[in-house]
Amino acid sequence: MPGTVQSIERAATLLHAVVESGGQMGVTELAAAVGLPKTTTHGLLRTLLAVGFVEQDPRTGRYAIGAGLLGLGSHYLDANELRSRASNWADSLAARSGFAVRLGTPAGLRVVVVHHVFRPDDSPQELEVGSVLPAHATAVGKVLLAGRPALARALADAPLEALTPRTVVEPAALLAELQTARARGWAEQRGEYRLGVGGIAAPVHGPGGLVVGALGVSGPAEELFAEGARPAVRTMVVQAAAAVSRELGT
């Protein structure tokens, strides 16, 4: 069979074995099951783990199918569906926080705005649904990158455009920030896309657990990050994103 890639074939075989094991096998048993050396199997599993296709029980060391794989095919989420499910929560987030709200979905290394709620002050604003934002310089983008380790690495290889003097263009610095964002469940940007404008965003998870979108607020950085305001706004963002995730899970 010319043109097949051995490591992908092996990974596929391994994934089948993980499924068949019902999450009950560690690296040794899996290596035996697929007939590969343990070191090779270990390498494959580590890669699959990194891209979210398998998960490892930290206690037993056993492997199970990851949320990323579950979310891949069967739970494809239509962007218009996402907007319709998120609408009430996005409205409520804007009303409570006083900031504009955007819901973004990943499009490669960029973010597509699928929903936009105006800042509730009746000032002139334009609907930005359908516009595209750079992932590395926006809070919604960072959340999406944090949820897709493979994408994040691809981004680190590409030149990062400096949109303002504050844009994080150092791959290592960005990756570290993404790791923090993943761990704490939210991301922020401080004037990295447009000077003076900040953002805070949190992930929206699909039914399989995969990050399918990012819900965030944005506005004048001095208001958004004002002492006292920021923790409250952050909580609202995280809770609203969690509410949308729940909405998608039902």
Partner: protein, 502 residues
């Protein structure tokens, strides 16, 4: 200051929702329960009033419990309800005589045709501002009186009570058989075909015409003003107001000035324009209805354009054709093409309401060629909602002479961006969506809160209204759609003609 809240009950066609709002008009708690739809025969749609009453008690108690921990208190209850749905119940036992006849029920069609043939029929339009159509409550009440043996005699003796859904709920909330208050709000009463729309009282000539005994009718009260105390709730609350759901949405959208208009996009769509304290009689197929009345103030009127099928057409695409998996996916499918490919869908599933009032019209897909794909069909489905809105807006402009500067929209379909942009383009007007999408419940909450002084006046409510999105017409598209409008009109005429041949 301690926060104060209002509880709104939105008794809708598919469910009953209890929602708590704060003083800023923000949603604090929501509880919802669906009720069963009974379809005993083709065209018949019924609800069990006792199930709805139980759901009202349950969701209200839950919502009140949800805010029990919050520092503050709930100060009033407001009700918005599905309109024209007819309940007849026994004053002594409190039991409904039959299940409620729902506004979608078409069983009174033959009865209405018979009534329309009588010489006094012209009276109906003159006194009520409505069309003589099976869509309204009066003919349903007449049907019940005819269909249930002994009902008319019992009604004449005062043993049976009639009411629309808010009336049934208020009676039960205020004690039911134990001193329940039998009232209706003026907006609901204006939808019965039994009320004189100028004097806002039951009209003896209309009661004669429909054969309805006055003894069974509720007292007509303002929409904003205390109706009684809801003693049946865990926390007794003053019932500060009630409105039909579409009037509640107009109120929730704070359309208090003449010319201000809203359209609620759901299964069907309802465009209401405030015409102030003057009743505007339609010469272009709209109906004149009561918008709201604050206790001690004159009645405010509205022109209404009711569209039977809008969101229901998307559901049809999903459930009957299976072209999409969810309603929201219609936008995805529609965006696979850039125009309707010459295709028009007139969704006259059970006739057309405003501005045509053609009960026999039937739906059609016009302009099919082998070029048309499912993407074009999806576009035509969405455009049908836009074109129908244009029909109604055009009639409204001609009738009221009040310029509509922007259309305020709400309802489930407003999350569809393609549709909202199409609306702006087809109307040539900006389309604006408010921050609180739950305008029906909000309107009921506003009415109740005003009645008990939680808000000082309608100006305070206006300050709560904020824009969440706006779609601006694209001049090029406006011109193109102006040019295409006659095509749509032709399709509508064909659908009416198709019905006439049957």
């Amino acid at each position: 200051m301690t926060e104060r809240y209002v509880l709104a009950v939105d008794q809708g066609t598919t469910s009953t929702r209890s929602i708590v709002f704060d003083r800023a008009g923000r949603l604090v708690a929501v509880r919802q329960r669906e009720h069963r739809q009974h379809f005993p025969r083709p065209g018949w749609v019924e609800h069990d009033p006792e199930e709805i009453w139980a759901n009202t008690q349950l969701t209200a108690a839950q919502a009140l419990r949800d805010v029990a921990g919050a520092p503050g208190q709930v100060v009033a209850l407001g009700i918005a309800n599905q309109r024209e749905t007819t309940v007849v119940w026994d004053r002594v036992t409190g039991r409904p005589l039959v299940r409620a006849l729902v506004w979608q029920d078409t069983r009174t069609g033959p009865l209405v045709e018979e009534l329309a043939a009588r010489p006094e029929a012209a009276l109906v339009r003159e006194r009520t501002g409505l069309e003589l159509a099976g869509y309204f409550a009066g003919p349903r009440l007449r049907w019940v009186l005819d269909a249930v043996p002994g009902a008319r005699a019992r009604a004449e003796r005062g043993e049976l009570l009639f009411g629309t859904m808010e009336s049934w709920l208020v009676w039960n909330l205020t004690g039911g058989t134990d001193g329940g208050v039998h009232v209706t709000d003026v907006t609901n009463a204006s939808r019965t075909l039994l009320m004189d729309v100028r004097r806002c009282c039951w009209d003896p000539d209309l009661l004669d015409f429909f054969g309805v005994p006055a003894a069974m009718l509720p007292e007509i009260r303002p929409s904003v003003g205390v109706l009684g105390t809801a003693s049946a709730l865990p926390v007794p609350l003053p019932i500060g107001g009630a409105l039909g759901d579409q009037q509640a949405a107009l109120f929730g959208q704070t359309c208090f000035a003449p010319g201000e208009a809203k359209c609620t996009y759901g299964t069907g769509s309802f465009l209401l324009q405030n015409t102030g304290t003057a009743l505007v009689r339609s010469r272009h197929g709209l109906i004149s209805t009561v918008a709201y009345q604050l206790a001690g103030e004159p009645v405010h009127y509205a022109l209404e354009g009711s569209i039977a099928v809008t969101g229901a057409l998307v559901q049809w695409l999903r459930d009957s054709l299976g072209l999409i998996g969810s309603a929201a996916e219609v936008e995805t499918l529609a965006r696979t093409v850039s125009d309707n490919g010459g295709c028009y869908i007139v969704p006259a599933f059970s006739g057309l309401l405003a501005p045509h009032w053609a009960g026999r019209a039937r739906g059609l897909v016009a302009g099919l060629t082998s070029y048309v794909t499912k993407g074009h069909l999806a576009r035509a489905v969405l455009e049908a909602t836009g074109w129908q809105t244009r029909d109604v807006v055009r009639a409204m402009d001609a009738d009221s002479g009040l310029p509509m500067e922007a259309l305020r929209v709400d309802g489930g379909m407003t999350t569809n961006n393609l549709l909202m942009q199409f609306l702006a383009d087809v109307l040539g007007n900006p389309v604006v969506r408010p921050m609180v999408g739950e305008t029906v419940s909000l309107g009921a909450a506003y009415a109740a809160g005003l009645a008990v002084g939680m808000w000082s006046d309608t100006g305070a409510l206006r300050r709560n209204w904020h824009r969440s999105a706006q779609w601006v017409p694209d001049p090029g598209r406006v011109a193109a759609l102006d040019a295409a409008y006659p095509e749509w009109e032709r399709a509508v005429q064909l659908s009416i003609a198709w019905g006439e041949r049957r």
